[in-house]
């Protein structure tokens, strides 16, 4: 493998991590918005806060990781993307600020009005941010981002069927992952009613996500033929894996299975991302900028790989420690939601 391809793999690893962990966080925000106000919404929201509190900070860093690897490894692609797509990217950055403040302050707001506002802001920003990031990916796949400083169309580059479907797909995928994860969290918290609550929602989200993915394929066929053909040939195994995982999750959820759903749901998302990467290879910005053309000098690429290696050795065990402590209930922040009224626990 060439150095440039190795760094591209690192980039896709970052995208994958962000999609799975960050995506689930966004999805949780969507569910917290949809849970509605008042008493009925309080319990699901309590579970969401309890589940994502300790980890979202770390999950969020993957986005920064992706940006930094992109500008270090493939600076010309970074320049083109950020200058042409500045509108959706500014809106995504805006959403990130709103989301962070909404989440941080929904606990400290004393008055119910302030709390409701913070929750709404958090939820709305959790929908908008992945949507705009999705339109950016759609713009890239659709070949609408020419090389150079702001050489593309500022509007049509991301306001087109492929981008919009991709944006919606990002939102739905996050919601899907979040609901599957929250089913397990509800079990961990000993709240069977919430387990059912999120399992129902996971089924709906799975169907919507599947439909949007199909819509995405149609848009790709019309708009980004090369990527579509890639999915049909080199990336076909990954597409099949994704579909199989998706169906398996549905079956597991219907049967109320105890384990497996989380891993399979993540697997479905991971294989789609890698399928897209394989299908688009060797282009980093279709139709004409290849990974090799965009790559930084080899010393830089080597340095990126070394830093990534160190990160794997140092950060992954630490991250594992955090997730383990969380799973064993050794660290937690907000109050664990209580079991339903009248339960015997």
């Amino acid at each position: 493998m060439t150095l440039a391809n190795a760094v591209a793999v690192v980039l896709v690893v970052g995208v994958t991590m962000y999609a799975v962990f960050g995506g689930a966080d966004f999805g949780a925000g969507l569910w917290s918005l949809l849970a509605g106000g008042g008493e009925s919404g309080r319990r699901p929201r309590a579970l969401i806060d309890w589940a994502i509190g300790p980890v979202w900070e770390a999950n969020h860093v993957w986005l920064i990781f992706v940006l930094v690897v992109l500008w270090t490894g493939f600076p010309s692609a970074f320049e083109a993307i950020f200058s042409t797509l500045f509108i959706p990217l500014s809106l995504a950055a805006f959403g990130i600020v709103l989301r962070g403040s909404g989440f941080a302050f929904q606990h400290s707001a004393r008055r119910p009005g302030g709390q409701a506002l913070a929750t709404t802001v958090f939820g709305a920003a959790s929908v908008l941010t992945p949507f705009f990031l999705g339109t950016v990916v759609g713009a890239v796949a659709g070949g609408r981002v020419p090389v150079g400083n702001a050489n593309g169309d500022f509007v049509t580059s991301w306001v087109n069927p492929l981008s919009l479907v991709t944006g919606a797909l990002f939102v739905a995928t996050g919601a899907y992952l979040a609901s599957v994860f929250l089913v397990s969290d509800a079990r961990r918290a000993g709240t069977p009613d919430l387990e059912r609550y999120f399992s129902d929602r996971a089924l709906v989200a799975a169907v919507v996500t599947g439909a949007l993915a199909a819509g995405g394929l149609v848009a790709l066929h019309a708009d980004a033929r090369a990527v579509f053909d890639g999915l049909k040939s080199d990336a076909l195994p990954l597409v099949i894996v994704s579909a199989v995982c998706g169906v398996a999750v549905l079956v597991l959820l219907r049967r109320g299975a105890q384990r497996g759903a989380r891993v399979l749901a993540a697997g479905a998302v991971v294989s789609v991302i890698w399928g897209w990467a394989v299908a688009q290879h060797p282009q980093i910005l279709p139709p004409s900028l290849t990974v090799a053309d965009a790559a930084a000098p080899s010393a830089t690429l080597k340095a990126v790989l070394i830093v990534f290696g160190i990160a794997v050795v140092v950060v992954l065990p630490a991250l594992g420690l955090l997730y383990t402590l969380v799973q064993r209930n050794l660290v937690e922040e907000t109050t664990q939601p209580a079991p339903p009224e009248g339960s015997l626990r």
Partner: protein, 442 residues
């Protein structure tokens, strides 16, 4: 960018140094079985959580800005300085993870295991500060890439990471972080004591950060002085603008404040020969003036630059005096000076050190203009060609104003609740909840 950085840098300073204060209190609490110190460590860990969350958000916005505002800068040199941000990423990742473990581990981890879980936070704070400030140092003293015009085709990462400005810029910034955090935290407790709350928690809350800050200040003076001398050599135009030196010559007068004009400094206090002396230990040292480069390569707003520099140095001197007062009384009486004037001075020191921090960045950044990468790339060549970017920029400005206000409100609300301490700790973002029934016992 300048605005967002100016905001982020305050949070970043807290992020670097507040965990250290928290651990010192934690250590004291465990070693000497001191419940007051543990209470302080607990409170400060909540403040760490809030500032880290806001720091993470503002930092994310900064990484977007590299693309949104300066695509041509990042497009051309991202491959050169980017590795440093990748290293920074590793440190921030570790910091985020261990902060989470520390904050949420108060209740269930064993006391010493919990203490040690905080140590990586301090180390990665230092590492993160190193990597980011090294980028800024590289913009001041670019090296390690070729060619210097057009597309970069070869990079030497070691030369980039350890560029000549690193040895003074990085320690200066890290010391600034400790100093700002120390005086800021101390000032909060000083205000409390001025309002009559002279309990042990307040005295300890003043003592720990004040001691750290007072140790850092004289060192900061020495490092800053070294930096100024290095700049006189390596970035002579910046130095000339800082000191309002128009013509290259010897026996240059040092002016304290005053207005910079094309024919010399108007007003201000002049000390003949001192500027030359400070640069080369002799009044006959030649100092490079602004006339050494054509007008379009000189920094703008000389008077502001000059004032920013003098403000930083003046505040540093005043803070050293405060430290000397504190040290003297401590030496004689083993106690904090109890006079109102001392507490008033402490109360001001927090704001003063932030002013010095911002002033220092103005010196560095405005003094480098019109270059974004010194003598390699002009700022005007770095900007995005997308027009309309100012709309998003104003959006960000508005959001930051709100964010800043909320941050202050939350921190104040937290301290208010601590004051009316009812024994039940309050709910804060990511804060440990002491009134949660132990889950492990389920």
């Amino acid at each position: 960018m300048a605005f967002t950085l100016g905001f982020h840098i305050i949070l970043a300073s807290l992020g670097v140094a507040l965990p250290a204060m928290m651990l010192i209190a934690n250590y004291r609490g465990l070693r000497h079985d001191d419940p007051d110190a543990i209470a302080l460590a607990k409170r400060w860990s909540k403040a760490v959580a809030v500032t880290f969350a806001v720091g993470a958000v503002t930092g994310t916005v900064l990484s977007f800005e590299f693309g949104l505002l300066w695509p041509a800068f990042t497009g051309r040199f991202g491959q050169v300085f980017g590795v440093l941000f990748a290293i920074e990423g590793v440190f921030f990742f570790l910091e985020a993870i261990f902060i989470a473990i520390y904050i949420f581990g108060w209740r269930y981890l064993s006391p010493w295991a919990h203490f040690w879980s905080g140590v990586p936070v301090v180390i990665s704070g230092l590492g993160g500060a190193f990597s980011v400030v090294a980028v800024n140092a590289w913009m001041n003293q670019p090296q390690g890439f070729s060619p210097t015009s057009g597309k970069v085709t070869s990079v030497d990462p070691w030369k980039v990471i350890f560029n000549p400005a690193v040895p003074y810029e990085v320690p200066h910034m890290i010391l600034a972080a400790y100093l700002v955090t120390g005086f800021l935290v101390a000032s909060i407790y000083a205000v409390g004591m001025l309002r009559g709350r002279r309990d042990r928690i307040h005295r300890l809350g003043l003592l720990i950060p004040l001691t750290v800050a007072c140790i850092a200040t004289p060192i900061q003076f020495a490092v800053g002085d070294t930096a100024a001398r290095a700049i006189a050599k390596d970035q002579p135009v910046k130095f000339a603008a800082m000191e309002c030196v128009q013509q290259t010559h010897t026996h240059v007068t040092e002016y304290i404040f005053g207005r910079c004009t094309a024919d010399g400094v108007k007003g201000g206090i002049g000390i003949p020969g001192l500027d030359s002396f400070l640069v080369g230990w002799s009044t006959s040292t030649q100092v490079t003036g602004l006339d050494s480069v054509p007008p379009d390569e000189r920094p703008p707003a000389n008077t502001m630059l000059h004032w920013a520099f003098d403000t930083m140095v003046g505040i540093c001197t005043a803070l050293i005096a405060l430290g000397a007062w504190f040290g003297f009384v401590w030496w004689r009486k083993r106690d904090i000076p109890q006079t109102t004037w001392f507490l008033r001075a402490c109360a001001l020191s927090g704001i003063a050190s932030i002013v010095a921090l911002e002033a220092g960045w103005i010196v560095t950044e405005v003094g480098r203009q019109p270059w974004i990468v010194y003598r390699v790339m002009r700022t005007s060549d770095a900007v995005t060609h997308a027009n309309g970017i100012w709309i998003t920029f104003s959006l960000v400005l508005a959001i930051y104003a709100v964010l800043g206000a909320i941050l202050i409100v939350v921190l104040r609300a937290m301290s208010k609740r601590w004051r009316s301490d009812s024994g039940v700790d309050d709910e804060v973002p990511y804060g440990p909840d002491t009134d949660v029934p132990p889950v492990a016992a389920r």
